[in-house]
């Protein structure tokens, strides 16, 4: 379970997050939906502990994330926006490095990696050096290194960015499998179709604020619109002090 409670963050004159609160439950996929620059990444960064909130708290399974060695971090797998790998290490070594830093034993890492190679279909490149990997291969390795310590919670920042259709289907399949295993999954996206295809719950975020929370169907009903896309635009439109939000957003939708 991932909880955001009244998270606030200011960068200079910009309010990146204003009192953001929501909960992502176990066995569910929660989507953080918002236009570019809405504050999605800042929220996620506070939720995986590389940005400290000015106010509010981020909790993983009820444990506060503050502090470098918080037990909450061990329960969290993270796929940041940048999925950089160590080019001179093989895919396997990249995964093992993160496993070892999580304190997982060598044998356990081997066992877990074997399982991840299977489920993520990494046979073709697991022993190859990561230099020159395709975006899809990089993403798989980054996902594997986020999962090697078997975390109950997974946070992903725009995980399908820059992937082709086949790879996107692959990632969706993996997320659905993890959900079926009872993981709590939180991911951000600005692509509505993706959120519709995957999410049990949606958190719509704009200008650093939570504008709507609920199952896609609930949000559609609340706004009295025909689709999530219409509901999304309606929510952003009716948000306080956002005259240009709709046109910005329309441009942001592929």
């Amino acid at each position: 379970m991932i909880e955001a409670q009244g998270l606030c963050k200011r960068f200079g004159a910009i309010d990146a997050a204003r009192d953001v609160s929501f909960t992502a439950h176990d066995g569910q996929i929660t989507g953080l939906l918002g236009p570019n620059g809405a504050g999605k990444s800042t929220c996620l960064r506070m939720l995986y502990g590389v940005v400290t909130p000015d106010r509010g708290a981020a909790r993983i399974d009820g444990i506060d994330l503050r502090g470098e060695t918080s037990a909450a971090r061990a329960r969290l797998g993270v796929l940041p926006h940048a999925v950089g790998l160590y080019g001179n290490l093989t895919a396997r070594e990249n995964i093992a490095y993160f496993g070892a830093l999580h304190g997982v034993g060598a044998e356990e890492i081997t066992r877990r990696t074997a399982a991840l190679v299977e489920s993520l279909d990494m046979h073709a490149f697991i022993e190859r050096r990561a230099k020159g990997f395709s975006q899809g291969q990089r993403l798989k390795v980054a996902l594997a290194r986020a999962l090697v310590h078997q975390p109950g919670n997974l946070v992903l920042d725009e995980p399908t960015n820059g992937l082709d259709v086949m790879a996107i289907r692959n990632v969706r399949q993996i997320l659905l499998e993890l959900k079926a295993e009872g993981h709590c999954i939180l991911f951000s996206s600005h692509v509505i179709q993706e959120v519709v295809a995957l999410c049990d719950r949606v958190v719509i975020i704009g200008r650093g604020r939570v504008l709507a929370v609920g199952a896609p169907q609930e949000i559609i009903q609340q706004t009295g619109t025909a689709s999530l896309e219409a509901a999304f635009l309606h929510t952003l439109d009716s948000a306080p002090g956002a005259p240009d939000a709709a046109s910005d957003t329309a441009a942001g939708i592929p």
């Binding site: 590389v50 918080s70 971090r73 796929l79 950089g84 160590y86 080019g87 290490l89 999580h102 304190g103």
Partner: protein
Amino acid sequence: MRALLTVYWKEVLETLRDRRTLWSALVFGPLFGPLLFGVMVSHLLDQNVIESEQPLSLHLCGATQAPGLVRYLESQGVTLTLCNWPLAEASSAVRHGTAQVVLVVPEEYPSRLIAAAPAPLYLVADSADSQTRKVSERAHRILSNYASGIAQQRLQIRGIDPLLAIPVAVDDVDVATPSGRAVVVLGFMTYFVLFAVLVGGLYLAIDSTAGERERGSLEALLCLPVPRSILVGGKILATCAFMCLSLAISLITFVCVLHYVPLEPLGMSANMGLATAFKFFAICLPFVPLGATLMTFVASFTRSYREAQTYLTAVLLVPTLPIAFASIYSLKTHPSLMIIPSLSQHLLMTSVLKGESIAPLDMLVSATACLGLALFLGMLTARHWRRETLLG
């Protein structure tokens, strides 16, 4: 502790697989200094040998007018090339390089000599060329010896003791011991040693900080339940390992180079055997963690790989400042100077080269100062790594 070693091994492994980094850290850096040094010293040796042992060769114009001078020059072992240029032609010959140094005897020379008036001679040379300047200086010396010989004869003929014309006799007394003189030549070798230390860790320091950020692997690393001080500590430790390796390679190369470039012909003995190399290693060892933390510290503040390269190349020159200062003011080893890193290494290594014994106190102060500063910089680096601005 396990996490520290994990980070350390990963950085070492990654660097060992990067050919470009390895080339710069273990080949270019440590070999560049000693080899350049060897070339410089052997060139210097050649020059000195040319100056003292090669016969002096001169172009001589108007030899028939000065048979006495020709005989004297030949008796001094000067190789003469006779020619018949007037002064203007001789000047252009020197200017165009057809002749190095030309001695021109003008027509009035014999009559002036007989009349006991100053007889003119023209020595044509290019003083901007250091090679010919040495030749012309030697020619000058021989000519003035010839002149003073004639002067003494003239005085004797007139019944005057020639010694009266030599009121002062200056004799040079050089107190430099052979290895002391070698230190002048070997002095900047200490900088090459410190340079090798820093270059050895240069790319690792960049790769593990600015490189990690640029590659996009830093954010995932910072999500881990590992203290940031451990992460950066492992990186510094790996940098230290490569610096030690580079230092060792550099010292071994110096031993080899000085084995083939003997300094004895210069009247110098360079105490550069394996024992000296070990002493150098011990003296420079405390400098290694300082160099590693300094480079990691600077690289942590840079935004990109390129920026880090720019700043760290400047860091490579930092050790030259105290060494240059020491050379200008010719500082001698003193405990109070031992608190300045790089200067203390320079002074201690110089002492070893001179064959002087090293005071344990000096060694202790030097090591403590380096390690203390390294610890301080390490703490500052760890503090910076705890900030969220690290992600940029």
